[in-house]
Symmetry: C2
Subunit: 189 residues, 2 copies
Amino acid sequence: MPERRRGAALEQALLDAAWDELTAGGYARFTMDAVVKRAGTSPPVLYRRWSDRDDLVRDTLIHVLRKNVLEVPDTGTLREDVLTLLRHINATRFRLITVMSVYLASYHLETGTSPTELLDPADTDRRQAVDAIFARAVARGEAKAEHLTDRIKALPFDLLRHEILTKYAPAPDHVLEEIVDEVFLPLVR
Amino acid sequence: MPERRRGAALEQALLDAAWDELTAGGYARFTMDAVVKRAGTSPPVLYRRWSDRDDLVRDTLIHVLRKNVLEVPDTGTLREDVLTLLRHINATRFRLITVMSVYLASYHLETGTSPTELLDPADTDRRQAVDAIFARAVARGEAKAEHLTDRIKALPFDLLRHEILTKYAPAPDHVLEEIVDEVFLPLVR
DNA sequence: TCGCTTAGAAAGGTTTGTGTATCTAAAGAT
DNA sequence: ATCTTTAGATACACAAACCTTTCTAAGCGA
């Protein structure tokens, strides 16, 4: 049964397979052979596109980051807006955060550089979503502008990231609420 | 020039070499050969003690964790006590935190288990130091006991850990002060 | 329909790391 | 002084992963 994939469709399939390998086994166990097998193809197909492992990992991460765009919630209250964002990140990005961390750590330890250019788009993305939410919250009188320093604005997301990075699992919902109710909201009112 | 190491001294040297390899190249680049070379010995010496790579990594981490014991500061103010602890962790443990994270992530992604038993002693250690500090702060009226939930007590340390895990470098001192003055202290008073 | 591009199979040379076997001589014990 | 243990050197068998080479035939465009 032939049914050969070509061009862009094949490329997507390869990157998806690479991503699955990465999340299934981690960077250390990530091999070209495994990607080839998972994608149901053969080595030359992979090597025609990516010259080596790091090249493929890089593009895989960019590919996944591109597919993950945050939507800005507007529920009417700051609490629900932030919780909605946290829940969305928690549900969709915990694999991404974990793998990125491992990859970036290895990468950094190897090269001494910090490839922030990979993460910057996603970061800017989140910062914009957050600023829109906070502007409305200030307008409604739910938060005071002078309390919204960069650190405070990033705080709930930093704590969620920390939770994911130390537990290697999505955070349970009560933890998200704890972060918002016990730490974040008291600081901005 | 003979001068052969034996017994415990040799074992320490091997574990130190393994730790250096781990921090220099990360878990992914960690090889038995490299440890052998760095320690200036030969394969059988290593294999007589540890049957494989994971075995050695495990013992290396335990070895390093054992050497790292926190002292409880008592400067007279909560702010300085917490800052002192943060500074000490920041200065001595950033390699440990980074490597542990990388190792634990790979380990977890590979095995599906979470080797918390490795980290628990260090964690209990820190919790005790912190509780002693907080008890004095409450007695001095610097913090209210009802604000000191588990999450708040862990907060400055979680934020420092997050900082280290995302930057792969010790945090600059103004970040430590920011964490204490802008986030932690307002929440406990 | 013909022809160009390229997916995918198969096989292999190379490198890198694992773990073992064998031997020598050094350090400490008796 | 002799004996026992074991550090350290060397060599190697084995496996895994890399990446390449060569070939066949499928899919698309002209």
